[in-house]
């Protein structure tokens, strides 16, 4: 199983160096990988159908509990087949669709990356591994949505999608780590044993909330649904693959995967039923008012995802069966419709359904595929969609008493809208009279229309032989979601019952709605008004506010004036220090412990303070340099007084050299300009004096801290024994801490080199102003 993930990743990487060749001659090899993988997973069907589950484990980061744990059960297999199967069709399709595109190779690189990430996501049995692949799908989706990166709308949509799904990813990570901590294991297959622990844990609502946020953002549930219509800026194969059939179902997969562990509580049931129910109805109604084919499909996709969330929320045996079948039903017809839309767009250059009609005369097989998909989506008896719809009604009719009516009504209302929307997308462009402008159209290359035809045809075949697909695939899918036997038996005919009546009512009402609903640009304008108060506006509003805030924040702190940075840093430090000093209590001064005061010291300090005053106030550079050297010599004398002869000598020589240095460089420069107003200078002197006072207080406090002398004593005692010397300061430098000194000299050398190169480097004439 691991190789299936790696194969795509390796192909993705290989496209970087060899991409150019794939653009032309080798491009037929591109769909090879998904085809092989699809056949590989087809081979698993009989084994998994007999109830087997496959595991594979490779050590990766055992210390963090992250191992490459892979697991293949019914649910994973369904998704693997969708990913590779639909993927095969998409790869063939996209090769023609994007022929001659300058970024052809890049596109397939992203597509491979996505396919691997998605396979990894559905196969991983470790929640951290799952998260990694989850994020990878978001990232590859970002690149694919923004594929036409020269269009601003495309870039914006990509950013929105990444922001929403990325944000959801963070929540998901938090939720997954929490669940791992509560259960004590990161293996998904082991989590189910800790179901009771997790359900009764006080953090259960938090875990559930976080995981829901992850799933809802990914699967475009209200109020995070708006990124999906935006994602339709991607090339059509991407919309078909990622944003209807596979990636958006990752959220559903997550809920299904954690269904056995987390479901069964009121919180689970009512949240999912509420959000899913609202989303499916809301976006089904929205889809009726759209005139862009892709937009219609986007909203019906959201609606279908809402339906799946809703079913998982109901959580009964029937609901799980319905969900596991509906995933497949929806993937088949929605991918078909998207691919057909792509062909229509590719050939006619428009996706506006008010302009498209009668295309069946020129695009015969395409119209057939679209018709099959539309019928499946409408749930006409003998299509796979009919079975899916039946199971949904079955599920809503088998819940606890007082909910039956509400849930069934919501489901029926949604389905009526979906029927109409499906007809709008699948029938409307192909029937009626052919406008003149489209008469010269001809069928595209067969690699473009065969994949949708196969997918649409499968909807019919599965509908005619539901027992076949049910026994081999959906039964085990439902079992792995439900974690038990669901006793599922799919059949065309269930007898004449309420479900059948509801199905027929839906179909009739939907058809009626299709005929009376005439979408137009005005209606789009009308429905767009609702978007003003929709979550999208709120999100973008927040995003803009954050940008504005960070702009102001940066402009305040990073305004380009060094002194203002200094001011802020110093004020902040003062604030912190005052707070700490305030906390630490009063200062005490014990005069007896101090060394006696001598007249020399007082004299030196007075000279020093005088020189300091001159440095601060003089307008002449030379005066200030001389005063600086006086300060240095005074400090040198202080070292002499306080028994530090080495320091005194060093300070003396360094001070001399610094003065020479200053004079060498500065004596040519003019005198200081007075650049600050009196007010600024007063303000600065207050800040400065405050800082000095704070440090004095700290020094006073330090003076009365007990001093730890172990280290000093060690040096003192061992000076002669270990280092055979008597000047301890020098011994520390040249012996005990010799390596430090060694590197200090290296630093000195670097400084000298810096000075040397800075001066030897001649200014170019252009640099001189």
């Amino acid at each position: 199983m691991l190789f299936t993930i790696l194969l795509g990743l390796i192909s993705s990487i290989l496209l970087i160096p060899f991409g150019k060749r794939f653009k032309s001659s080798w491009s037929i090899l591109l769909p090879f990988v998904p085809t092989v993988l699809f056949i590989y997973y087809l081979g698993y069907i009989p084994k998994v159908a007999s109830g087997l589950t496959y595991f594979q484990e490779i050590n990766w980061v055992p210390s963090l509990g992250v191992n490459f744990n892979l697991k293949l059960d019914g649910l994973s297999l369904l998704f693997c087949l969708l990913i590779t199967g639909i993927g095969t069709g998409i790869f063939f399709y996209a090769r023609t669709y994007l022929k001659g595109h300058p970024y052809f190779d890049r596109f397939f690189g992203y597509l491979y990356l996505f396919m691997s990430a998605m396979l990894g996501l559905v196969l991983s049995d470790n929640i951290l591994l799952l998260f990694i692949f989850w994020e990878l799908t978001s990232i590859s989706s970002f690149f694919l949505i923004g594929f036409n990166n020269d269009q601003e709308a495309s870039r914006k949509s990509a950013m929105t999608a990444l922001t929403i799904t990325g944000m959801g990813g963070f929540f998901l990570l938090a939720g997954l780590i929490l669940i791992g901590n509560v259960a004590g294991t990161f293996k998904i297959s082991e989590l189910i044993e800790y179901r009771d622990v997790i359900l009764n844990h006080p953090q259960y609502p938090l875990i559930l909330g976080l995981i829901f946020l992850g799933a809802f953002t990914k699967s475009a549930q209200f109020p995070f649904h708006f990124w999906l219509p935006g994602a339709m800026k991607a090339p059509t194969p991407v919309s078909a693959y990622l944003h209807s059939a596979t990636m958006v179902k990752a959220g559903i997969y997550l809920l299904a995967r954690f269904f056995p562990v987390l479901s069964g509580t009121d919180l689970w049931t009512y949240t999912l039923m509420g959000i899913g129910g609202f989303t499916m109805l809301y976006s089904a109604i929205h889809s009726l008012f759209r005139i862009d084919l892709k937009s219609i499909l986007a909203f019906t996709t959201i609606s279908a995802l809402g339906m799946l969330v809703f079913l998982l929320g109901i959580g009964t045996k029937q609901a799980v069966i319905a969900a596991s079948v509906f995933i497949l039903v929806h993937a088949l017809y929605k991918a078909t419709l998207f691919l057909v839309t792509g062909i229509v767009d590719h050939e006619t250059g428009t996706r506006d359904i008010t302009r498209l009609s009668g295309l069946k005369k020129v695009l015969g097989p395409v119209a057939l595929a679209a018709g099959l998909a539309a019928l499946s989506s409408a749930g006409l008896p003998s299509t796979f969609g009919f079975i899916g719809k039946d199971l949904i009604y079955e599920a809503t009719l088998h819940v606890e008493s007082h909910w039956i009516l509400i849930l069934t009504v919501i489901a029926v209302a949604t389905n009526i809208c979906l029927v109409a929307a499906g007809f709008m997308a699948g029938f409307k462009p192909f029937i009626g009279s052919l406008p003149q402008e489209f008469e010269k159209l001809h069928l595209p290359y067969k690699s473009m229309w065969i994949p949708p035809l196969i997918l649409g045809g499968l909807g019919l075949i599965f509908g005619l032989f539901p027992g076949f697909i049910g026994n081999y695939l959906s039964y085990q899918t439902a079992n792995s979601i439900y974690a038990g036997d669901t006793e599922m038996h799919l059949a065309i005919w269930h007898g004449f019952n309420t479900v059948l009546i509801l199905s027929l009512v839906t179909l009739a009402a939907g058809t009626f709605l299709y005929f009376i609903n005439k979408p137009s640009a005005e209606k789009v304008g009308f429905i767009e008004k609702f978007e003003k108060i929709s979550p999208q506006q709120i999100f973008t509003g927040y995003a803009n506010d954050i940008v504005k805030f960070s702009e102001r924040f940066t402009n305040f702190f990073h305004n380009g004036y060094l002194r203002s940075y200094h001011m802020k840093i110093i004020l902040f430090a003062e604030g912190l220090l005052i707070y700490k000093l305030w906390q630490s209590g009063p200062i005490k001064i014990v005069f007896d412990n101090l060394t006696p005061l001598t007249i020399y010291e007082v004299a030196v300090v007075i000279i020093l303070l005088g020189a300091l005053l001159i440095v601060v106030s003089t307008p002449s550079r030379l005066t200030s340099v001389v005063a600086m050297s006086v300060i240095g010599y005074c400090i040198c004398l202080m070292y002499v007084f306080y028994s530090a002869p080495d320091l005194a000598m060093t300070q003396f020589t360094i001070d001399t050299l610094s003065t020479v240095l200053f004079v060498l460089v500065l004596y040519k420069l003019p005198s200081f300009l007075n650049l600050a107003s009196a007010r600024e200078r007063y303000r600065d002197s207050i800040v400065a004096l405050g800082f000095g006072a704070i440090l004095s207080i700290i020094a006073l406090k330090v003076l009365y801290e007990p001093i730890k002398t172990e280290t000093s004593d060690f040096y003192g005692e061992n000076a002669y024994i270990l280092a055979k010397g008597k000047n301890v300061v020098n011994l520390i430098l040249a012996d005990f801490r010799g390596i430090d000194t060694m590197f200090e000299t290296v630093v000195l050398g670097i400084a000298a080199l810096g000075v040397y190169s800075l001066l030897k480097l001649r200014l170019k004439s252009s640099e001189k102003e």
């Binding site: 240095l661 008597k726 040249a734 012996d735 010799g738 060694m742 050398g749 000298a752 000075v755 040397y756």
Partner: protein, 137 residues
């Protein structure tokens, strides 16, 4: 800035100050002094000479660019750090001659280390000051 008195004085001061700086270096292990101070005093000697006679004249006495003293000094220090490992001891272990040398005291690898520091300091200070004074703009 050329004055005869200073020129004459530095002619004698330079060797005396250099001797003094070497003295500071050697006795650093027992009394205040050491590589840093010694190097700084030696640099001051050269700087004083350059003030009196011009930097070019001082460069003539040095014969080489002061920059070349830096790698030499670093090399000596590094050798004294690594040397003990050839005797199977950890780096930086002090190695000592058994006999005491008059005036200096005992000679050991730490002294060589200090000598390296001394040379680096002279190299650094003179490089900085001489490049500045030789650059005209």
């Amino acid at each position: 800035m050329r004055s005869i008195i200073l020129q004459t004085a530095t002619r004698y001061l330079l060797p005396i100050l250099l001797l003094f700086s070497f003295f500071l270096l050697l006795r650093g292990h027992y009394y205040p002094g050491g590589g840093f101070v010694g190097g700084l005093v030696a640099s001051i000697a050269f700087v004083l000479h350059s003030f009196a006679n011009g930097t070019e004249a001082t460069m003539k006495i040095l014969k080489r660019k002061p920059l070349s003293l830096i790698p030499v000094g670093l090399g000596i220090s590094a050798v004294s750090v690594v040397l003990p490992t050839f005797f199977g001891l950890p780096p930086m272990t002090g190695l000592w001659w058994e006999e005491k040398v008059p005036v200096i005291g005992m000679i050991g690898s730490a002294l060589f280390f200090d000598l390296g520091v001394y040379l680096v300091v002279i190299g650094v200070v003179l490089t900085i000051l001489f490049t500045i004074s030789l650059t005209k703009d």
